[in-house]
């Protein structure tokens, strides 16, 4: 009796272990509600980036300047401040105005355009992962330059939001990727570019 019970226990354990192994490698399928929920998170994060365009509007991008100056004081990577001061802030004469700065406007235009691209990608769910990767990079830069001047997690959270949206294809609900993804996947066998692009949706 005890021998047969022990055998049964071993069989149950083996079956459970096999189930665990199977569950570990099986792909995780998101429900429709979870996908919609994540799509709404994506739109909100896109809106977060979108709103940041308005305090540093072209052509002067003046609102950005004090933050670049602040980064030269608070960046925690050695040499980062030196590089900023001797490249993009070279020639600047005042900490409050962009007078004399020759490379500030090209830098600011690049930042503004990148944030606009992030906003469009995330708000409209078009090449969402490209937007999320760009958002992660931009947020990492903010984390390096400004996190020691404020609550650390302010920028850490934005980095993680970008990373989370890189991992999950959130544009395939409530987004243009819903239309793009199947087309790119169909073309992926014939075209290498389509294969690369299909990873970004």
């Amino acid at each position: 009796m005890s021998i047969s019970s022990s055998t049964r226990d071993q069989e149950t354990l083996a079956a459970t272990a096999a189930q665990e192994r199977g569950a570990t490698v099986a792909p995780i399928t998101l429900s429709e509600r979870s996908s919609i929920g994540l799509a709404i998170v994506r739109i909100c994060v896109g809106f977060l980036w979108f709103q940041q365009l308005f305090w540093k509007l072209p052509p002067t991008f003046a609102g950005l300047y004090p933050y670049i100056v602040r980064e030269t004081h608070y960046a925690f990577i050695p040499g980062y401040s030196f590089i900023l001061q001797h490249t993009f802030l070279a020639g600047c004469t005042s900490p409050s105005s962009t007078t004399g700065c020759t490379l500030f406007v090209p830098l600011a235009a690049g930042v503004w355009t990148a944030e606009l691209v992030v906003s469009i990608c995330l708000l409209f769910g078009v090449f969402t992962r490209l937007g999320a990767i760009l958002a992660t990079i931009l947020a990492l830069q903010l984390y390096v330059g400004l996190s020691t001047s404020e609550w650390y997690w302010t920028y850490g959270t934005i980095v993680l939001l970008g990373f989370a949206l890189t991992c999950v294809p959130t544009g395939r609900r409530l987004g243009v990727d819903q239309w793009l993804a199947p087309r790119l996947q169909a073309a992926a066998n014939r075209s290498r570019v389509a294969r690369w692009l299909s990873w970004l949706v």
Binding site: C44, F54, L57, L123, F124, W179
Partner: protein
């Protein structure tokens, strides 16, 4: 649910999501004053609430139009997105531009990149949401109808 009612439901859902966005940052809901300003009925005390209600009513209205435009045709994701975005542009042109100038007394000199981009993008987001929610609900209904009882 017929197409017009589905359009109404999609329009309401899309406008609630867009209305929610106004509370994400710079708020709560200060941007809704801008919606009330289109009709010249903004005020410090109730402007936000008026803006939110207008957003919902306009969202429902454009949802109805979407349903009417769709008619009995079979919906595709490309047409749903294109129609939704076109209605989003129409929303911006009619309300955030023409009505805002005629009724809200907005001056053309006030129009700059910032004052254009903010409402325009939100109108487009509304349009995209309208199209995708409509498509999603149509497909889900079709799948449910095909399932054996």
């Amino acid at each position: 649910m017929n197409n017009v009612l589905r359009g109404l439901f999609s329009g309401l859902s899309a406008s609630v999501i867009v209305g929610m966005l106004y509370f994400v940052d710079y708020g709560p809901g200060n941007g809704l004053h801008g919606v009330a300003r289109w009709f010249g009925i903004d005020n410090k005390d109730t402007g936000r609430l008026i803006g939110f209600l207008l957003l919902i009513v306009l969202g429902a209205l454009f949802g109805l139009v979407f349903g009417l435009l769709q008619g009995k045709r079979e919906i595709t994701i490309s047409r749903a997105i294109a129609t939704g975005l076109a209605l989003g542009v129409a929303w911006w042109v009619i309300f955030a531009f023409v009505i805002a100038i005629v009724i809200g007394h907005m001056s053309l000199t006030q129009l700059n990149l910032g004052s254009f981009l903010y409402p325009f993008m939100l109108c487009l987001v509304y349009g995209l949401l309208l199209g995708t929610i409509y498509f999603q609900s149509t497909v889900r209904r079709a799948i449910r109808a095909r399932r054996p009882s």
